[in-house]
Structure formats: structure tokens, C-alpha cells
């Protein structure tokens, strides 16, 4: 069986080019507001993640507590490394960032919103339905109702959304397996859901 190092060496230059682009897309799509707000160069996280993995500082493929190799693609692993690095960055910098936003005379709600967005996105899964405080039930209910409204009339999306409401950490492949759908079908449906959510979010904002 080939070692992780051997497997890394066997990756062609063309494959590295594709992985690099995909990793940049993942990183910039998820964390672009971090760049816009505080000027951090997200490519640094991408480059460090690849560098660490190639040098063995981050070991791919990962092993579980029993020493068995986990079946994780290199790309997915690199996404987790980026997420981990940004999470650490956020732990170090959050006080400075919030202080800077405060100095810009942002409203208390805007600071809270930005801080939550940062903290949420620094995780690998969204902390949906984990709101705290006296209004948490009302927020969760309105969120779930909004989600159900947005997929009304689309039976496939409705089934997917019910699973996500139940467990936001489900991976698309797990959703596909649960519903007996092809992976690509779920990927397409999730893209559709995202478009509808963006529209719904705009409508909510417009109604403010």
C-alpha cells in the first residue's frame, strides 16, 4: 500500500493545478468577507495548507484513533486544513477585529452579526438552529418556516431541507444516501437551494 507521501508525489502537475484552483475557490467563497473587512490575504491560508500537507506537518491521509487510514480525499482534507487555520486565526484576532469595527462606529447589531458570521464560518459546519437567548425558539421557528416556504412545490428540495433541519452537519453524500438520490442530483439541488435562499434573504432585507 502506498504511503501518504508516495500518494502525494504521484499527483501530477496538472492535478495540482486543479486542486489549487478548487481550494482557492472554496476558501474565497467561504471567507471572502474576511478579506474585505480586515484585508487578510486568503491565498496565504491556501498556500500554507498545501505547504504543510506536503511537508507532513498536516498528515494526509489522516488516521483515526486506532491507526486506520480515513477515506478522505486530498481536496476535502485541504479544505479542513484551511478551515482549521482560519479558525485559529479567528481565535487570535477576534478581539482586534471587533475593536476595529467598533471604532468605525458600526452599530451594535452589525458588530454582533459580523462576529457571529465569522465564528460560524470558521467551523466546518454551520451552527444552524443553535441560537441562544430568550428568542432562540422564535428565531429557529422563523428560520425553519422560511426554509420550508422557499422549497414549497419542490418535493426533492423539501426532503433535503427536512434532513438539513434535522442535522445541519450532514454532508451532501450522506443526504444523497439517505434519500436514495445520485450525488450529482443533490449537488444540483443544493445549488438551487442556495439561489432561492439568496433571493429570500434579499426579500427579508427589503421588507425591513
Amino acid at each position: 500500500m502506498a504511503s501518504g507521501k508516495d500518494e502525494l508525489r504521484s499527483i501530477s502537475s496538472e492535478e495540482w493545478g486543479d486542486i489549487y484552483k478548487r481550494l482557492r475557490l472554496y476558501t474565497w467563497k467561504r471567507y471572502k468577507w474576511l478579506h474585505y473587512k480586515i484585508g487578510v490575504d486568503l491565498d496565504d491560508f491556501v498556500n500554507e495548507s498545501i505547504y504543510d500537507t506536503l511537508r507532513g506537518t498536516r498528515r494526509w491521509p489522516p488516521v483515526d484513533e486506532n491507526g486506520f487510514t480515513k477515506d478522505v480525499s486530498l481536496f476535502f482534507f485541504l479544505c479542513q486544513v484551511v478551515q482549521s487555520k482560519i479558525s485559529h486565526f479567528w481565535s487570535r484576532e477576534r478581539h482586534n477585529v471587533v475593536h476595529r469595527i467598533d471604532q468605525d462606529n458600526a452599530s451594535e447589531e452589525a458588530i454582533e452579526s459580523f462576529e457571529t458570521l465569522l465564528a460560524e464560518s470558521a467551523h466546518i459546519y454551520p451552527g444552524l438552529r443553535q441560537t441562544k437567548g430568550s428568542d432562540s425558539d422564535a428565531i429557529d421557528n422563523e428560520f425553519e418556516n422560511g426554509l420550508r416556504d422557499v422549497v414549497a412545490g419542490d418535493d426533492e428540495l423539501r426532503r433535503i431541507v427536512e434532513l438539513i433541519i434535522e442535522d445541519p452537519s450532514l454532508r451532501p453524500k450522506e443526504i444523497a444516501e439517505s434519500l436514495g438520490l445520485a450525488n450529482n442530483k443533490v449537488y444540483t439541488a443544493l445549488k438551487r437551494l442556495r439561489r432561492r435562499l439568496m433571493l429570500l434573504r434579499s426579500e427579508f432585507k427589503g421588507a425591513e
Binding site: W16, L25, G146
Partner: protein
């Protein structure tokens, strides 16, 4: 924490925002995309697909450019932007798709496009003020650069450079005309553009954002009146 209808609404909007971010960037979904889709989405984000590091150095491999195939500098581009300028072709389809997204507006001049669009990307240093932005990026003195636009093969009409206008399309969907000199040289339109700020999206506030740097992508195309 919230204690009001508007607070609840704000929290729900934020949940939608978080979910949109996660859905749009899930590793499985990014991994399932074709490289063309990856390139297009990078462009939509205003990011040059060209690696910002030397992949050969990073991976120890002999890595070919992962950028688009025609990233080589083209004639007339001064050394100043040679390293950061990426040229891509085949964007006509995306241009039409973008135009179709803008509802309620008649773009009758679309039929009159007489050359294929060209995508350009320029990297800028961000600054807190417009003046500082101009200074940091070396725009205090007038400067200009040249590019060529290939004529569309399907265009059969006569080309009259005096009737040509150059239009810029930005990621935000903004369109603006570009002051330039246009000449017809060996079946190509040669443009002399008098301002690097053509890269700045008029609907974005990058120049005065306190950010380290950003990419300014723009699609230039020609129309004939």
C-alpha cells in the same frame, strides 16, 4: 439578546446568509464542479485563476500554469502590468448570460457587437483614501496601455473604427464606456486606453476599502453604432 421582531428578523437573515455561504462553498460541491465552472466562479469572485505563488516551488513538481491557456502577455502591454495581467477568451457566452440576468432592460445593441470580448485582470494595492490609492498604485501621472480585440468570425458587416465604442463589463454587472483610441490593424481592433482605472468597478468601493490588495477584473468589448 434580540428581544424584538426586528432582532429576530436580523438573526434569521443571518442564518440564511450563513447557510448560503456553506451551501455555496461545500467541499463536495466544489469538488464536483468542472474546471470551467471553477474558472468562471473565480472570475465572478473577482479572483484571477492564475496562481499567486510558484506552484513548482510549493509542490516540488514541474507544474504547468493552471491559469487559462492564453495568459501570455500580448503586444502593446507595458512591462508595468505584464506580470499581473491575465487575458482570457471565450467569455461571450458568459457576457450574454450576464446581460440576460439584468431584467427589464432592452440591450438592442447586443446584436451590434463586432468583436469578441476580452477579459483583463489587474491587481491593485488597497488604500484608505482615493489619493493614497492612486499614489500606491502609481497612478499619479497619466498612463495608457494598448490591447487588441479580435473581430468576431461571424460578423460580416463593414468595420468603421470611427463608429466603434468600447464598453467595459464588471463583476457587479456595471457597464461603462471606455475612452480610447480605436484603429483597425490587420483584422484586429487595436485599442489605446488612457486610464488604468478602467479596471475599477464603478459599483464597488475597492479603492477606498482598507484592504491589502484586490483583483480588478473587467470584460472589454466593442460595439459599432
Amino acid at each position: 439578546m434580540h428581544g424584538s421582531d426586528s432582532g429576530i428578523r436580523e438573526a434569521v437573515i443571518q442564518q440564511f446568509e450563513v447557510m448560503s455561504i456553506f451551501l455555496g462553498s461545500h467541499p463536495e460541491i466544489v469538488e464536483s464542479m468542472t474546471m470551467q465552472e471553477v474558472n468562471e466562479e473565480l472570475w465572478e469572485l473577482g479572483i484571477n485563476p492564475k496562481p499567486s505563488v510558484d506552484l513548482t516551488e510549493l509542490t516540488g513538481e514541474s507544474v504547468a500554469s493552471s491559469g487559462p491557456p492564453n495568459q501570455t502577455p500580448f503586444p502593446g502591454v507595458p512591462e508595468f502590468i505584464g506580470e499581473d495581467l491575465a487575458v482570457r477568451s471565450g467569455s461571450l457566452r458568459r457576457l450574454f448570460a450576464r446581460l440576460q440576468e439584468i431584467e427589464g432592460v432592452e440591450y438592442s445593441w447586443v446584436d451590434q457587437i463586432c468583436s469578441n470580448p476580452k477579459d483583463l485582470t489587474q491587481r491593485f494595492e488597497g488604500a484608505a483614501t482615493a489619493k493614497e490609492f492612486l499614489r500606491k498604485n502609481g497612478f499619479m501621472d497619466p498612463a495608457s496601455f494598448s490591447i487588441d480585440l479580435d473581430l468576431a468570425a461571424e460578423y460580416r458587416g463593414a468595420i468603421d473604427p470611427s463608429r466603434i465604442s468600447i464598453v467595459a463589463l464588471y463583476p457587479s454587472g456595471a457597464l461603462r464606456s471606455v475612452p480610447s483610441e480605436v484603429s483597425l490593424v490587420a483584422g484586429r481592433l487595436r485599442l489605446r486606453i488612457h486610464d488604468y482605472l478602467v479596471f475599477i468597478d464603478p459599483d464597488a468601493d475597492q479603492p477606498t476599502e482598507e484592504i491589502a490588495s484586490f483583483w480588478g477584473p473587467v470584460t472589454l468589448f466593442a460595439i459599432q453604432s
